[in-house]
């Protein structure tokens, strides 16, 4: 007897829930009137890495700008899929979200390298490129008591005696190692012979440089700012087209200015799943264009010290393809491909 009662109760409870759910939905539907047609439902932003990293920060800044500036009338949700330089998130986007224009993924140069280094079965050309958003320059630093004062001296020794230079930076196949490979190639040294010690995250590499394990460290430009300003390390070069201040109070020289034809930006962008219609792609692109033009986004970029690196539409597609080719080549030269 008791069981039957409880079943009835359960049914009532479930029905009540369903009703409550429906009401909420209709209420939510009313809001959308008068707004743009994208996003027309909850927008999901996937971060293919753990919370707290650069991609996560990018996604959450996007989320904030989208909702604060009322660009999206529907909720924007950020979720993290961790693992393997983003290739696990990439695989998930391709297999699970095919054709769903309300599912975007934040990504960047590191993923381009990750696909190559991890021999990911899912490639970047399988997704729909939308835009690149921001970029950060890389910096090459040496300890303050190092004998190297210019990049040229460092690269001369790296070429003549590769075993004498201990390079250090982030994960194997990441932006930092890519820069070391490109530098070696430009200096006429053997990229494979470069001794690169990989660390998880910038902190460990920082400690190793200060402790004396490393000759030179490569990292995102903001990472060493405080140590450069405190004169504990010296910046030799930055990797962008124009020099930025990495803590000395004046712009650091670029790699190009020192005679090596290397230009590398650690860029971040956003992609959509494969199989979305051209109309959808145009709508997503227009939406991201709007985000890029918004006051909230501009302010956030300034606060974070991100460089504007906006390319969308065909320009973005072409850039994705050229980066893919360049990174694949250099990683293969290093011996990671």
């Amino acid at each position: 007897m008791r069981t039957r009662h409880s079943r009835i109760l359960a049914a009532i409870a479930v029905a009540g829930l369903l009703l409550a759910g429906c009401q909420k939905d209709t209420a939510g539907g009313g809001n959308a009137s008068g707004a743009v047609d994208y996003p027309s439902k909850t927008l999901q932003l996937m971060v293919p890495a753990a919370p707290g990293g650069g991609w996560d920060l990018t996604a959450r800044t996007m989320q904030k700008a989208m909702t604060d500036d009322k660009l999206a009338t529907k909720p924007v949700e950020v979720y993290n899929v961790t693992g393997a330089a983003g290739t696990i998130g990439l695989a998930q986007l391709v297999s699970k979200n095919r054709g769903d224009a309300h599912h975007l993924m934040v990504m960047g140069l590191v993923m381009v390298g990750g696909v190559v280094a991890n021999k990911s079965p899912v490639k970047l050309d399988q997704v729909t490129p939308i835009a690149t958003l921001t970029a950060e320059q890389e910096v090459v630093v040496v300890p303050a008591n190092s004998k190297y004062t210019t990049l040229k001296q460092l690269m001369d020794d790296a070429k003549a005696n590769p075993a004498s230079i201990n390079w250090g930076g982030g994960s194997a196949g990441g932006t930092d190692q890519i820069l070391v490979g490109l530098l070696a190639k430009a200096a006429g040294a053997d990229p494979k012979a470069m001794k690169y010690v990989a660390y998880s995250g910038g902190g460990e590499a920082k400690a190793a440089l200060l402790a004396g394990d490393l000759t030179a460290a490569v990292s995102g430009q903001s990472e060493f700012k405080d140590l450069v300003a405190a004169k504990k390390v010296r910046a030799l070069a930055v990797s962008g087209a124009t020099g930025v201040d990495v803590g000395e109070g004046k712009p650091a020289p670029t790699i190009k200015e020192q005679g090596f034809d290397v230009d590398l930006m650690n860029w971040r962008g956003v992609v959509a799943p494969p199989g979305i219609s051209n109309g959808d792609k145009a709508a997503v692109t227009a939406f991201v264009d709007k985000l890029h033009g918004s006051a909230g986004w501009t302010a956030a970029m300034k606060a974070q010290g991100w460089e504007d690196f906006y390319k969308s539409g065909d320009e973005a597609s072409a850039f994705f393809a050229s980066e893919n080719e360049r990174i694949t080549t250099v990683l293969t030269d290093i011996g990671l491909g």
Binding site: A10, L18, C22, K24
Partner: protein, 165 residues
């Protein structure tokens, strides 16, 4: 040889386990040795070989110790039996595992609330609950509370699934 007493049976399953561990360790060692790459001190392939070799050695020692009849082993087993008068049941853990598998599969399709509610009811049953009403109430209240507090208060994404909450 038939071993009717409980201690003997337990001892026997330990031996089987030791043998299984040895076989698994051997297979892993084989795959570690066969991998391509640098087996030098600095290379990435040495550690797997060292670890799986240690596995094989330890499993072999374990197996030998199990095969060697020792009075203490019997005693230990008997002592263990005294603590656990009942034989472990296999149905309940298997049932829980099946429910877990169903939960994980349903999670992204049916959504968190529905799958967690069904899972709670089923698992409580498997674990011997007789009070269905209580289980159903918990199964409805708990997942909804979790879902709402995670998605609304903490901004953590959980699959909504069929419930448009």
């Amino acid at each position: 040889m038939t071993v009717r007493t409980e201690p003997g049976r337990r001892w026997n399953s330990q031996t089987l386990l030791a043998a299984a561990l040895l076989i698994v360790g051997g297979l892993l060692l084989w795959s570690a040795v066969r991998a391509e790459g640098d087996f030098g001190l600095q290379g990435p392939r040495l550690a797997p070989v060292v670890i799986t070799s240690a596995w094989v050695v330890a499993a072999a020692v374990h197996l030998i110790m199990q095969l060697r009849p020792r009075p203490e082993a019997q005693e230990e087993a008997r002592a263990g039996e005294e603590h656990e008068p009942d034989r472990p049941g296999w149905l309940a853990p298997l049932g829980v595992l099946a429910a877990l598998a169903g939960f994980a599969i349903a999670l992204e399709y049916a959504g968190f609330v529905v799958s967690a509610a069904l899972f709670t009811v089923v698992t409580a049953r498997v674990l011997g609950s007789r009070n269905l009403l209580r289980d159903v109430i918990v199964a409805i209240v708990l997942p909804i509370a979790i879902y709402l507090s995670f998605t609304r208060l903490l901004d953590i994404f959980l699959p909504a699934g069929v419930f448009p909450l």
